[in-house]
């Protein structure tokens, strides 16, 4: 991916020399493993099923600067028609798309912006739509209707480390997502001769909420569904603990550092993205990507994977703590009324 900021050779070597010094120094005084301050807010978009806003390194006083990403999920009903080309799949689908605000990249032409959006979308889509992460409760009517989960992300400002921000926002928005409860509806013809004139029209009957396990009638005949009103807007997305976090290791061989600014990103030859998920403390690597024209050997990669897991675990733990806190805050808010 082409760098969006231009740096002079002297600036590049100034940044690189600082990183390779002992101890490594960075332009803003951070150490190699320091992140900038991250702020996160969930449920920011009232019309979305789940949403989050993440900013990394925003100026605490006037709120300027810093990478800012907005993520929102929207559920859409899709009919499952095999072979009709509508795209619906039994069990539901997840789709991600990333849009970059032109204001975030004022120097890019619209074609270059499209390329960048496509690149970001591909990385998110290939990681988050993997079958190992697929939520199980996206089915409405088996074989007929399912939910299409659209995850849309907007990069509002980019001042470096946009991938970590995107994955943080994606995880927070998916965590925040509520799937509406549905109840299947069946049309049943009334028995002939039972009544007079209106009998043959067909009558609508709403299923009981408690469905007997032995009664397979609903599954076979249910043709439509309805949304019962619920106070909490639905149930959580299944497997919301599994969505991965990303940690970007910026490599200046032999050193590496985290949370690069735009200038630092422009000055380094290679970046390694690692997407980790920690299911019951067991690390799962969900994705890996190198960017740039530098080289990386297999033993180096092994070392970096170990280091990356350590950093990702810290991000994971603090993100989970923050998400739980946000959720508790919202429950309290609701209980006030």
């Amino acid at each position: 991916m082409a760098s969006t900021t231009s740096l002079s050779k002297a600036e590049k070597s100034y940044i690189q020399a600082g990183l390779l010094a002992n101890p490594p120094t960075r332009g803003d005084g951070r150490s190699a493993q320091d992140f900038r301050t991250i702020s996160l807010q969930t449920s920011v978009a009232p019309l979305a099923n789940g949403s989050a806003r993440v900013s990394i390194g925003r100026d605490p006083h006037d709120g300027s600067g810093g990478t800012e990403v907005l993520a929102a999920t929207k559920l859409e009903v899709e009919s499952v028609d095999l072979g009709s080309g509508s795209g619906g799949v039994n069990g539901g689908r997840v789709m991600c798309s990333v849009t970059c605000s032109p204001a975030a990249y004022p120097h890019l032409s619209s074609a270059a912006l499209d390329d960048l959006q496509y690149d970001l979308t591909t990385i998110l889509n290939s990681t988050l739509t993997h079958p190992s992460l697929h939520p199980k409760n996206l089915t409405i009517l088996p074989g007929k209707k399912s939910w299409l989960l659209n995850l849309d992300l907007v990069v509002l400002v980019d001042s470096g480390n946009v991938f970590d921000a995107l994955f943080l926002a994606a995880r927070a928005a998916l965590w925040d997502t509520k799937v509406p409860r549905t109840r299947s509806v069946e049309y049943k013809a009334r028995k002939a001769g039972g009544g007079g004139e209106g009998g043959e029209k067909g009558d609508m009957e709403v299923d009981e909420e408690v469905v007997s396990g032995f009664d397979t009638r609903q599954i076979r005949h249910a043709t439509d569904f309805e949304l019962p009103d619920y106070w909490d807007e639905g149930e959580e997305l299944d497997g919301r603990d599994r969505w991965p976090v990303c940690v970007t290791l910026n490599l200046v061989p032999p050193a590496h550092f985290l949370d690069a600014t735009l200038e630092e990103e422009a000055a380094i030859p290679l970046r390694l993205l690692l997407m980790f998920s920690f299911d019951s403390d067991e690390p799962h690597i969900q994705g890996m990507r190198t960017m740039g024209n530098g080289e990386l050997t297999v033993p180096q990669l092994g070392e970096l994977l170990k280091e990356g897991e350590k950093y990702a675990r810290q991000i994971w733990q603090s993100l989970n703590a923050k998400l739980k806190e946000e959720e508790l805050g919202r429950i309290k808010e609701r209980n006030k009324f």
Partner: protein, 287 residues
């Protein structure tokens, strides 16, 4: 707006206004930049200071791009190399132009430009390079023309750039500052500030024989850790001051730097908001 306000408007030298505020009657005054006319009233369209020249009323915006004036010192970045000229991003509305004839060429300060110079323009400046220059003149389309025909001007190295709103850089006696911590500062009036390692005047290149190798070099000098720390500390001080919208002057920067050293803190502590607020509170006392 009644008669009293008109008198007030006439008397006050500079007054702040905000968008939508009606300034005066459009019958008595002419509308200038930053204003528009609605129902026979001149109304401000930007936030800034009101300025009046005879019957012309203008509003000078607070947040705007850099408005160049001849003689200003600017820091810019090369964006394009074109025939006999470079395009320079100087945080203005248009890219500035640096003509090949306005730079110092190797082998004598004053000499005619040769075809070979045109062919090796990238040897002097290439895309992305930072330079310090002076605004020389304007083209008919309003773009500024720069020159680096002094040994003070030229390519920048050994440091890092900070961008601030141009309005926060005041006109000073000299825009080349040297802080006692071994850091040189170049305050570009366009809001680009170059923070670099101090180079002694005697060691500056090209004192006598104009060493082109050194002037157009891309290689940094050896920079020790203390200097690096000082550079990032100064950068942070500038960021904190501009986020509080405090105009930068040499004395202010020095005081702020000394304050951070006195507190014996790490540079990264400056990230914290309370620390930044304390810094601003301490230097604005008695001002």
């Amino acid at each position: 707006m009644d008669i009293d306000d008109y008198e007030d408007f006439d008397s006050s030298g500079s007054r702040l206004t905000c968008p939508g505020e009606s300034l005066t009657s459009s019958q008595a005054y002419m509308r200038g930049h930053g204003t528009y006319v609605d129902s026979e009233e001149v109304i401000a369209s930007v936030a800034g200071t009101i300025e009046r020249v005879n019957k012309l009323v203008t509003v000078r915006a607070i947040r705007s791009r850099y408005n160049p004036e001849v003689g200003d010192l600017v820091v810019g970045r090369i964006t394009e190399v074109q025939p006999r000229r470079w395009k320079v991003d100087a945080h203005s509305r248009q890219d500035a132009v640096l003509m090949l004839s306005s730079v110092n060429l190797p082998g004598g300060v004053q000499r005619r430009k040769l075809e070979s110079d045109e062919l090796q323009m990238r040897g002097f400046f290439e895309e992305g390079d930072l330079l310090v220059a002076e605004v020389q003149a304007f083209f008919s389309d309003g773009a500024m023309s720069l020159h680096t025909r002094s040994l003070k001007y030229g390519k920048l190295r050994n440091g890092q750039l900070v961008a601030v709103p141009p309005i926060l850089v005041r006109r000073l006696k000299s825009h080349f500052l040297t802080l006692p911590c071994g850091v040189d500062l170049i305050l570009g009036l366009n809001g680009y500030i170059w923070v670099s390692k101090h180079v002694k005047a005697s060691e500056q290149e090209g004192e006598e024989g104009f060493d082109a190798e050194a002037v157009y070099s891309n290689v940094n000098d050896e920079i020790d850790e203390a200097t690096r720390t000082a550079i990032s500390r100064v950068t942070h001080v500038i960021r904190v001051l501009t986020s509080h919208f405090i105009p930068l002057t040499d004395t202010l920067l020095l005081e702020a730097y000394e304050w951070t050293v006195e507190q014996e803190t790490n540079v990264r502590d400056l990230f914290q908001q309370d620390f930044g607020d304390a810094l601003v509170a301490s230097i604005t006392v008695g001002r």
